[in-house]
């Protein structure tokens, strides 16, 4: 049996004095899409942040291995270069910084890390324009400031665009579906489907079933009060849609 791409064991983490993760166990093999669902405050975003190495979180117990190495020992930028991508729930605006410039810098940082030659401006534009077409984004986005003045939906599309250009081994998408209208949801879902491949894994953090109508997950996990309280196949998401979370919360208490 091969080791899973991502392996989380008994993960505990705090923010300030509050324990937000209380023993997460999760294995995500390459080639699979896992959905993590759960009510507000259950720890979904915290889990994404801890995986990406966001400052402010302290891991108090447990381990995370990614491609067989200790992920928690790496600083955030090295996790990214190793192929961990976080799609932000609230992508931040960076005024004056060209969207294309950041993306190319990101791509080249990863390529340098893999001892691959950097892409020049021409090849980069060819690549990014093809991906933008897929995301139905206007080319003017390239020269705009990073997320500057973007609508909520535009920001989310931009996250998926970045993901498609960077082609990470593990994409953790934190509520990428929230705030999207139906059309934008379909575009974002199509983008996610494009990345699906036997060597990659995708973790979708979401409240709702509707994204999963377009991206069928291999596994669904329910997070409540910092723990995974139920795991199942795609049918679990449908059940949650019908019954809500309350029936599972009692188990977690």
């Amino acid at each position: 049996m091969t080791t899973p791409l991502l392996c989380i064991r008994d993960l505990h983490a705090r923010v300030a004095d509050r324990e937000v993760l209380k023993g997460i166990n999760l294995e995500v093999p390459a080639g699979e899409v896992h959905a993590i669902m759960g009510p507000n405050g259950s720890g979904k975003s915290s889990l994404s942040h801890v995986l990406a190495g966001k400052p402010g979180y302290t891991v108090t117990r447990g381990s995370v291995t990614f491609k067989g190495q200790d992920l928690l020992a790496l600083p955030p930028e090295e996790r990214a270069r190793e192929g961990v991508f976080l799609g932000f729930q609230y992508p931040v605006e960076i005024p004056g910084v060209n969207n294309a410039y950041l993306l190319r810098a990101a791509l080249n940082a990863a390529r340098r890390h893999r001892n691959e030659p950097e892409v020049d401006a021409f090849d980069f534009l060819t690549l990014v324009k093809a991906r933008m077409q897929l995301m139905r984004m206007d080319e003017s986005f390239l020269s705009r400031g990073v997320n500057e003045g973007f609508s909520g939906g535009e920001k989310k599309r931009n996250e998926i665009l970045q993901m498609l250009v960077l082609e990470p081994s593990l994409a953790v998408l934190d509520e990428t579906d929230s705030g999207l209208d139906i059309d934008a949801l379909k575009v974002v879902a199509a983008g996610i489907q494009t990345l699906r491949s036997p060597e990659r894994a995708i973790v979708l953090v979401t409240h709702y079933q509707r994204l999963l109508d377009h991206v069928t997950p291999d596994r669904v996990h329910v997070l409540a009060r910092g723990r995974i309280v139920r795991s199942g196949g795609p049918e679990l998401a449908l059940e949650l849609e019908r019954r809500g979370y309350d029936w599972l919360l009692d188990d977690a208490a």
């Binding site: 190495g53 930028e77 990214a80 931040v92 005024p95 910084v97 410039y101 990101a106 940082a109």
Partner: protein
Amino acid sequence: MSTQDPSLDALLARGYQHGFVTDIESDTVAPGLDRDTVRFISAKKGEPQFLLDWRLRALDRWFEMKEPHWPKLHYTPIDYQDISYYSAPKAKTDGPKSLADVDPKLLATYEKLGVPLHERARLAGVAVDAVFDSVSVATTFKDRLSAAGVIFCPFSEAVQKHPELIERWLGTVVPYGDNYYAALNSAVFTDGSFVYIPKGVRCPMELSTYFRINAAKTGQFERTLIVADEGSHVSYLEGCTAPMRDENQLHAAVVELLALDDAQIKYSTVQNWYPGDENGVGGIYNFVTKRGECRGRNSRISWTQVETGSAITWKYPSCVLRGENSVGEFYSVAVTANYQQADTGTKMIHIGANTRSTIVSKGISAGHAQNTYRGLVSVMPGAHGARNFTQCDSLLLGSDCGAHTIPYIEVKNPQAIVEHEASTSRISEEQLFYCLQRGLSQEDAINLIVGGFCKTVFRELPMEFAVEAQNLLAVSLEGAVG
């Protein structure tokens, strides 16, 4: 303009004339400043009487003045009598013989900044004779300029060749008694640049290009005068992104810009003098007076500055908007790291009707640095329809630095529209993490964010300097955070 009778000055001067004749052979004058020092400098330069008289009036005025202490700057008092006010340019053979003899650290910095190879030797002070490329390029530029009728030469050369222009315009924008440092400069300046653009002429090149290749070491009291005659255009860049070695701690330059009817002057500065070490030891004190006057109708003066150097910067490039419909602009990025202090800003004086001004100031502080924006927008009673827009943003890196914004607004015309926006922010953890999560290093992330913060100013720079300025920012903030 004179506060004294010139003939009296001449009389007084006579009594000392013999006293310094023999000294004129020497290359340096002993520390100290009195009327003899000024006479010595003027004689060394072979200046006409009017200029000597003007210098002496400036000196007399300076003796009556007090060093200003209103800026938010702290430094050990300067002993003005302990400075030598003249030393002849060093012989060319003093410098390193070739790039191989130059401090590798300095060369590494040029590399990072992207300074063209042929300029590195000159900047590093390699004996000029060895730098053939630059000399020939400079000659070509010179031919093109003179074909257009543009005068661009060292100030001392202009005094010899065009004394009538100097006598007519010198001190008409910054009078010798304007302020303490301007008075000192007027008395003892040794050289600088003079530019005259004739009527209707659009200067055929950025004077920056020329300047970078041909810049002479002009010393600590530099004097620049740019006159744009009716309908002319000129873009001038002072300084260089590359660090220049300089042994003088005190610098007090004066820059005067004069735009007549329909003329435009764009003056860009990249200042990267030695800021002192990481403990704040050493470093240059930079007390500069820069002022432009839009004397003519529809004239325009733009100041763009990127200030990253000097231990202390005291500098307020200003515009006097006298001509109707004239426009003044000020775009500034001031970076202070370690123990640097900057008190900088601008003054926009609206005198004529329908005058407009724009101020965009970006201050960045890191380490223990203090960065102050001090600006004045003044609208005089006759400035009907005057407009000003001011935006002052400060960015803090780390928790031991400071940013201060001190805007003064005086409006004496009820129709004027004056807008002021200000913000102070810390570099956002969210922005930083976003970049790190995309794989950028901490340093690249900071440079990216700071570069974005400064973008509105950088795009005002001449094209070839915009990239260098961005790199300069990165070098200046190296190790400032982390």
